[in-house]
């Protein structure tokens, strides 16, 4: 499935400045793996060392937070938009 991945300002530097990239995969995890193959600088920013979604990043398939779906195993369809938005947090 070919999907559009929207990157936040913070991560665009790792994708040659692109705010939006296209990638293929059956699940969000596969899409991210394909992206990271193409742009190695993204490694570690989307998926952590244990293969889980990075704690400080929110990922949405269209309007749904994938943490409420199947996380990185969430299936994607052609034309889906995956939005990556850094968590807003502090103390």
């Amino acid at each position: 499935m070919a999907v559009e991945v929207k990157l936040p300002t913070l991560l665009r530097v790792h994708a040659d400045g692109a705010s939006s990239v296209t990638a293929e995969g059956v699940t969000v995890g596969e899409v991210f793996a394909a992206l990271t193959d193409r742009h190695p600088g993204l490694a570690g920013n989307l998926v952590d060392g244990d293969g889980k979604l990075h704690k400080f990043v929110n990922v949405y398939r269209n309007d749904d937070d994938i943490r409420y779906l199947d996380s990185l195993d969430t299936k994607v369809a052609d034309g889906d938009i995956i939005s990556v938005i850094p968590a807003v947090a502090g103390g």
Binding site: T9, N58, Y60, S83, V88, A89, G90, G91
Partner: protein, 146 residues
């Protein structure tokens, strides 16, 4: 410490909305997002167009995380108004209105203004900051009519 740009300009209603939301959140930290106009390079001009009270997903008196669904909804609404998210507020229930180490470490947006409302004293104290490369710089807060 001199103030840096931009001065954050809020209406009295926006100021009261932010402070009320902070008190409503007790005993936990409250948080919300701020939208406003930005220039071509993404720099806010300091005007607050809209405030979005959000849920603190941490439900904690020590930390906050803006609920991810509130974040997406606020971002989309700001964009539909021709604005962008330009900042976040959160409350400090028992400490001063100054960024904590956690605040500095987790400040991801160099263009944003980070507003902190301290509920430590009898009257609320609101201060605002830019946090860039671990550096804290205060911005002036101008509330119309206050």
């Amino acid at each position: 410490m001199p103030f840096v740009e931009p001065t954050l300009r809020l209406s009295l209603a926006q100021y009261r909305g932010i402070v009320a939301h902070c008190y409503d959140g007790l005993p936990h930290e409250a948080c919300g997002l701020i939208a406003g106009p930005v220039d071509a390079s993404g720099e806010p001009n300091g005007d607050v167009g809209f405030i979005y009270p959000c849920t603190n997903a941490d439900e904690s008196a020590r930390t906050y995380t803006v609920d991810s669904r509130d974040l997406l909804r606020s971002m989309r609404d700001a964009e539909s108004r021709g604005e962008e998210l330009v900042g976040v507020w959160h409350s400090h229930t028992h400490t001063d209105a100054y960024p904590s180490d956690t605040d500095v470490r987790q400040a991801m947006e160099p263009h944003w203004v980070y507003v902190i409302v301290s509920l430590k004293h009898a009257e609320p104290v609101m201060r605002a900051y830019r946090v860039r490369d671990g550096r804290i710089e205060e911005v002036a807060v101008d509330v119309a009519g206050l």
